[in-house]
């Protein structure tokens, strides 16, 4: 019973962090699916989302707003707007001018953008860790007193539910809406979609904006869950989310979700049963194994050479 509770607790920890990896991974996978390019500045968009949410929360608190749902909604909307416009601007400035060139050029441009954004936040917000208020506190506990008790916090539940809503909405959007259909068409064949009258530039911008908005959601959620933000934390989170996207099959949206969850759970199980020191070893080792035996990732489709 004790062991089962311990296992469940580690599973919950892993799924929580995994869901947010998945939210960030969507941004990588959508951009890759459509223009075949890796947006290395995506981690920074996520970090900016977290900072914007923190600024919004602090601003509302200083105005004397105490009603929690209002604070959360305003913070979320602000973060999504700022991150999305950042995503849009990044695409216009750093990717559109070099699109269609040699593959290395947009890659370098993306890395440059990432360094620029990191340092921009360093300058604008300072380099210290800033505490993030825990707005959602408390939770359920399971198990008897005196022994190991499993806890499921309201914050973790919020993360699950929000991720679920975002993922469902995104799937419906891609499957049903007009823009979603255009997205799929562009990802199949950019040139042909263009010939058939789809405004591909608009679709590519939309992809960046959607990815950035989801990253902003993750930024707010993780900021509250962990408790602090710093200008460098987008880099590590971005790396993990990128791993999740590759693990699940880059270019595939369900793959990003699956990859995120697998990565999160394997990390928490490693720190729970082995040692926290091996956490990253196991998750990146997993990535290497999957790339060796299934290079397209778990749910990725093999790329067909077009003649």
């Amino acid at each position: 019973m004790q062991d089962l509770l311990y296992f469940s607790q580690q599973l919950i920890n892993g799924l929580t962090i995994g869901s947010t990896y998945a939210l960030i991974a969507i941004g990588y996978t959508m951009v890759y699916g459509i223009i075949g390019m890796i947006n290395f500045a995506h981690g920074e968009i996520y970090m900016i989302g977290a900072y914007t949410a923190l600024i919004a929360i602090t601003g509302l608190a200083s105005l004397g707003v105490v009603w929690l749902p209002l604070i959360l909604i305003v913070a979320l909307v602000c973060a999504m707007i700022v991150s999305s416009s950042m995503g849009w601007a990044v695409e216009r400035v750093a990717y559109r001018p070099v699109r269609g060139r040699h593959r290395l050029i947009p890659l370098i441009s993306a890395i440059g953008m990432s360094i620029f954004l990191q340092n921009y936040v360093h300058l604008a917000q300072g380099s210290r860790n800033i505490g993030f208020p825990a707005l959602i506190e408390g939770g359920f506990t399971f198990g008897s007193d005196g022994a190991f008790q499993m806890s499921l916090s309201y914050m973790q539940i919020t993360i699950f539910i929000t991720t679920l809503i975002c993922m469902t909405a995104l799937s419906l959007f891609i499957a049903r809406s007009r823009t979603g259909r255009a997205c799929r068409a562009v990802s199949q064949d950019l040139g042909m979609a263009n010939l058939l009258g789809i405004d591909t530039n608009r679709i590519i911008s939309a992809t960046f904006v959607i990815g950035a908005a989801l990253a902003a959601v993750a930024g707010l959620l993780l900021g509250m869950y962990y408790g602090s933000v710093d200008p460098l934390f987008g880099f590590i989170a971005g790396l993990k989310a990128f791993t999740a996207a590759v693990l699940g099959g880059i270019g595939s949206i369900p793959g990003a979700m699956l990859g995120g969850l697998i990565l999160g759970v394997s990390e928490s199980m490693t720190s729970g049963y082995l040692s926290g020191e091996y956490k990253d070893v196991v998750s990146f080792g997993l990535l290497i194994l999957i790339l060796l035996f299934k290079p397209t990732g778990l749910l990725g489709k093999p790329e067909v050479e077009k003649i």
């Binding site: 311990y6 607790q9 580690q10 920890n13 892993g14 929580t16 962090i17 360093h122 300072g126 380099s127 210290r128 860790n129 800033i130 505490g131 208020p133 825990a134 506190e137 939770g139 506990t141 190991f148 008790q149 806890s151 916090s153 914050m155 993780l222 962990y226 408790g227 602090s228 710093d230 460098l232 934390f233 590590i236 990390e267 928490s268 720190s271 729970g272 040692s275 926290g276 020191e277 956490k279 990253d280």
Partner: protein, 370 residues
Amino acid sequence: MRTSVKKLATAVSTSIALMGAGHAAAEIQIGIAGPMTGPVAQYGDMQFSGARMAIQQINANGGVMGEELVGVEYDDVCDPKQAVTVANNLVNDGVRFVVGHLCSSSTQPASDIYEDEGILMVTPASTSPEITERGYELVFRTIGLDSMQGPVAGNYIASLNPERVAIVHDKQQYGEGIATAVRDTLKDKGVEIAMFEGITAGDKDFSSLVTKLKQADVDYVYYGGYHPELGLILRQARQGDLDAVFMGPEGVGNKDINTIAGEAAEGLLVTLPPSFDQKAENQKLVKAFESKGEDPSGPFVLTSYAAVQLIADGIAKAESTDPFDVAAALRGGAYETPIGTVEYDKAGDMKSFEFVVYEWHSDGSKTPVN
């Protein structure tokens, strides 16, 4: 025409040489190397504030041997690679005395360069024993060692009769070093160590660690490392209903831990250098800091002040600005500083340095417990 060009060239080079010489005669450069940016920049603030004050006051009293001290500041971001770059810059800039670095993992590689290039270094904050273990002639500290701080923490935990203790560290030179010292002390006292584990500095998710600590049913957790990680661990431990007392070294004892951990910082135990700013003989100095709007209570403010003062006193005693002469003078005498009387052993460590256990509060204040 040719001769006039030659003459001009000679004249220019002579005047440059003279300017250079004049420059050197009027001032002694003191390099201050520490983190101005990065996650532990607040410790850098303490270091720079203390060192600037010392330079200002020494100059106001006529300088050293009639020469003015000039502070030259460098940012190492507390990153070992950056520290090496900074050390090389110092060499190129012709600086011969350094107050720094702050993080042990920066001080260690930088000190190799200083020793090779004949630059005298006084670190106001690095506590890793390895720094002075290599028989270097030009390396000094104005702070104690982990091998002094670890036993203070270990003995204190042992005196509370704990059932099970966990030790966590950030795998860096400072954090792991002090965690090992605490573990050894506790082992000698026969205390059960339930866990000894590393985390990754810069990580944000400690939920698995907290769950593990809860499973191990520990009543004390010692953390070797800095405040950004411990702040998050404290906060996530509170959210995860972990009921244990945390303790950390001076690297966690600053007010930034409160902005991260909030209420969860209440009751944290910290070993710190004694509050030099509370000593009666330092009150004039404390006023000088306060009139500049600076806070002298940080653990490294007065150790940095003392580092600059020791360099100045060493130069005055040696009557030379040669770093080797100054090093010999520092080893050969006793110096009165705001951190007490400083005497050096052969390795460059202070002969005595005391660490005190404080209880930290959620408003950022602290009270001594022993």
